[in-house]
Symmetry: C2
Subunit: 264 residues, 2 copies
């Protein structure tokens, strides 16, 4: 049974509808739990089985004022991207944070995803940035919508932990970040500085924003030029390069380690 | 036109046929170039366009004794996994290296993929291990076939750079590695030791094999017990964990950095 509510929620699979409504879908119990903790859940669709199995979540959603709608397996499948959403899909409010507000909180680590179009990559980097202790992840320029279903899923809940910022103009965002006193490093396979050299020189032990570009095209020239340094992850073997998720993990964790040592 | 040769090559998309023939498929000019450098190419299928565009590769393949078969766009599409293999697919000889031989070469860094079933993950970790300078990547137990098309593609050529080892018995492999004097670290979100602590204590500056398990199930208990230490990547933010590719990148690069310092 595709009820009118299911039909309306399903529209949120399209970016235009998400932008217009300021809503998005999060599926599966882990994401729903994180969304509830972030107090952004408006409605939960669940199969009979899902509602019973995750009764604790449903109870807390009800107490938070969310609407609970029982739907058929078929209707849930229509709402979900994955084959097995374990019987739950939530409609959540988007809560992007304006850049100035996110910077005002003084994050010691941030990631800027410039023109990254692949939602799985973007969500994975978001998750890694959260794990490394980043306070803000900035989706800059023509990047994927952070509320895209695949991005939400790949973020594994991290979308609800960090300040998610949308910055239509990447160069202006980089300038705003630098004005706040953060160092800006551009991750690029063609960097003139090596990550190990930066770490050895103590240059990572300062509030830092990392710029990451798409796997296909890298970072645009104007952003490379704006950064304080263009940094390559050293390649010790025969590989030509790392993929985006691996390179981001190495860079963000090099910063996290250096920042941890400073704060001790 | 699906010629008999195309039909035969297409069978290599199935593991059983790959195992029986000792062959596999590599698609696209980058993979073909690396396969030629590794001298494992037996035959190249190319569209008219692909053969012209990559005439240098074809010339060097001919000189190496490979057979060149021109095929239609439709036949190439049948052989390829990707939408755009850029007109080239090569039939290559598998060259797995026996564990003892790979260890006999004295690698300072190795990765063991234990029961990792996802080919994209396995290929990505293989690529990252190569970039970090690993000499061997060991596919242990019921892991994915390293010559699976998706794994070959995700490895971005690294399959041709490192010793690819198949070890049906993961525990026996770990014991063989330890007998060679390598330290074995198991990467696990539930580790009793933290990667930073290992680095601070200088424990990474020694020949090391990293064990990685599947994202869904982690490492089996017997392998965790066999390792010299169970190591977690520190989580500084709200994320519960890192994904496999990110965790592997952080661990392998922590080792690479420590080993580089020792060798200086």
């Amino acid at each position: 049974m595709r009820t009118p509510r299911v039909v309306a929620a399903r529209r949120l699979q399209r970016r235009r509808e998400r932008d217009a409504a300021g809503l998005f879908l999060a599926e599966g119990p882990q994401a729903v739990r994180e969304a509830l903790a972030a107090a952004v859940v408006q409605e939960i669709f669940g199969t009979g089985n899902g509602l019973t199995r995750f009764a604790d979540l449903i109870q807390s959603a009800r107490e938070g004022g969310a609407r609970i709608s029982e739907v058929t397996d078929e209707a849930l499948a229509v709402l979900a991207d994955t084959v097995q959403p374990q019987g739950l899909v939530a409609v959540c409010a988007q809560q992007p944070v304006p850049l100035e507000k996110a910077l005002g909180r003084g994050p010691r680590l941030a990631a800027v995803l410039a023109e990254i179009r692949d939602p799985g990559n973007a969500g994975t980097v978001l998750r890694t940035a959260d794990a490394a202790g980043a306070g803000a992840v900035i989706f800059a320029g023509d990047a994927v919508d952070p509320y895209n279903g695949k991005c939400v899923r790949a973020s594994a809940g991290s979308l609800f932990h960090v300040d998610v910022v949308r910055a239509p103009d990447p160069a202006a965002a980089v300038e705003a970040i630098r004005e706040r006193g953060m160092t800006v490093f551009a991750a690029t396979g063609y960097g003139d500085t090596d990550l190990d050299a930066l770490a050895d020189a103590g240059r990572l032990a300062t509030p830092t924003a990392w710029l990451f570009g798409s796997e296909a095209h890298g970072l645009p020239a104007d952003l490379l030029a704006l950064a304080d340094a263009r940094v390559r992850v050293p390649i010790y073997g025969g590989a030509e390069s790392l993929n985006l998720a691996a390179a981001a993990a190495v860079c963000l964790y090099a910063s996290a380690r250096a920042l941890r040592r400073t704060s001790e």
